[in-house]
Symmetry: C2
Subunit: 346 residues, 2 copies
């Protein structure tokens, strides 16, 4: 296809602003060309990734060496770390990344997917928007066997792989930790259940309650955008409850809502963790600045991004086969900090 | 050039996995094609940006509609906001972004620039790495009249434009604010002077001291990577000074170093702002979580990214001319918070 281009002597000539004939001679170490120019040509050939091997050239001839990356928002701590991890892997293997954000809007996600398809990306890395219901917009990729890797906000599909963590287990463990600290009325701040990550965190929370014979109460389960505002609103909701109905702990599905809930409750005079313990999710920078520091789940965007991109590239290179792997589950580590330590460490 | 591709009926056929003949008929609203299929074809044509106008096609024929973005690190709050702003502008105008990070290493920056050139980006958006000394590696772009826009960490060059804020004025104002609060021994935590942003912030700090007849003391000027560790180290440096030599305020060139300096000093028992006032730079999320909240300079990555990309695209479209503009300076607003308020508001 025309989009794939092997680096040629014309590219080197264009890059150095000299003639192709000079480049050709320089690459053959022809003494007609000054030593200095030959050095420049050799350096440029290396920088641009020039390959004189025509066999290698034909092998690659249907590839653009470009990966598409579709994310909900570029400007979250988690997503920028994931992108940094992908860039690292892609750069190491000679791939480029084209990026686009859906701004949590499925219609924009559809348009972005069409653009990536049309740009003839070799593969797609995608984390779904808040309100995506299905993945029909990815059908053109599946039909053409353009590999798709989901990361973080994933979707089950036979012909793609998902990279993420075990959200249910993580939420189970963090809820269990709160229970071990003597908490019995644990509130959960969750996100949109269309997204697996929030569905699984809710399931883990409920399972932990159940296993410890604690009731699940709808009054102690709030869903929303998990924003700063949502955190502050949750605090006001808690303060409005009769004292005997107030939760003694909050497990939030992200750190942002946890931190802004804490700040509002602190201003109202509640003590953390004595009156109400807190746990978040993500290990964002703010979790180490809030006082007391926030117990959270460390969940490296960098590793997820790096793993997803490496896996996609390995598939493209024929080193591994994406169609035989359903999911890659990475480690998530609970980081216990002062916000949840009512007793000693469990 | 082969890299530029107008969307054709073959692209639509490939996208829908149907024949080009069917697409051609569908676009002509031929009743031989089912209504449902015609609808699908029309939608795909819209999504992919199909243009039947061949004149438009020839006008665009040397363009890839791709912009290269080179940044020091993808995973900082400022940079991810800038990227989000660029993506917004690019998406609105039908451009794609290819991204790469230098990880603050000039050698990687050089390789990334060569890759972008070779990918035939229509233009380049770049923020320089920590140790970049000159911009010889951008010469291929200048020679080929591929427009280059610097943002944030800029470099003066006749044939490009810089987008940023007036760092000197901002630093001057924030230092003046600390002086207005009664501070007389103001420490500055700065970054590498190779980068204009840190050089200009130092200059603004020094100018404010001078205008208020306060001496500049080398003992109260530390430079470093402005990391969490650098912030904590600065705190230990302060604590090791004899009491009478300690600063009564710190102006840090970023929020990260300011916040980690504050946390360490607080643990050592110093009161903020009573014993030592604080001001940072960037208005990162952590500045609104640290207690007391940090006075800082609000400096929107989103606007800088959006402006830089829009400006570059307008140049490519012939709406404005990049070669006649040296610099675009955006607003930066001082955000006064409790960390610097020793008196009432000035």
């Amino acid at each position: 296809m025309p989009e794939d281009r092997e680096v040629t002597i014309y590219d080197i000539a264009r890059y150095l602003n000299i003639s192709a004939a000079t480049v050709s001679r320089g690459l053959k170490n022809n003494p007609m060309i000054s030593k200095n120019t030959r050095k420049k040509i050799a350096e440029a050939a290396k920088s641009l990734g020039y390959q004189s091997n025509t066999f290698a050239s034909s092998l690659r001839s249907r590839h653009t060496h470009t990966l598409g990356v579709l994310v909900p928002r570029l400007n979250s701590h988690f997503m920028s770390s994931a992108l940094a991890g992908m860039e690292n892997a892609a750069n190491r293997h000679g791939y480029n990344l084209i990026i686009a954000q859906s701004l949590e809007d499925v219609e924009k996600e559809k348009r972005n997917a069409a653009t990536m398809f049309n740009k003839r990306v070799d593969g797609l890395l995608i984390s779904l928007s808040y309100n995506t219901q299905d993945i029909h917009h990815l059908e053109p990729f599946f039909k053409r066997k353009i590999p798709v890797v989901f990361f973080d906000r994933v979707y089950p599909h036979d012909e793609s792989t998902s990279v993420g963590i075990n959200n249910q287990e993580a939420a189970y463990n963090i809820t269990k930790h709160l229970i071990s600290q003597g908490c019995r009325k644990i509130m959960h701040l969750g996100g949109n259940l269309l997204r697996n990550v929030y569905q699984e965190r809710l399931a883990g929370y409920r399972k932990a309650l159940e296993d410890h014979h604690l009731p699940f109460s709808k009054k102690l389960y709030l869903t929303g955008p998990l924003s700063e505002q949502a955190g502050a609103d949750a605090a006001r909701y808690i303060l409005d409850l009769p004292a005997e109905e107030r939760p003694d702990a909050v497990f939030s599905a992200n750190d942002t809502a946890a931190v802004y809930c804490m700040l509002t409750l602190k201003t109202a005079g509640l003590r953390i963790p004595e009156d109400i313990a807190f746990a978040g999710f993500n290990n964002d920078p703010i979790s180490r600045v809030i006082e007391p520091n926030l117990t959270t789940m460390d969940y490296s965007g960098d590793s997820i991004g790096n793993t997803a991109a490496t896996y996609l590239i390995n598939h493209l290179k024929g080193i591994s086969n994406l169609y035989t792997t359903n999911a890659i589950t990475l480690r998530a580590d609970m980081v216990i900090r002062a916000s949840s330590l009512k007793n000693k460490l469990p």
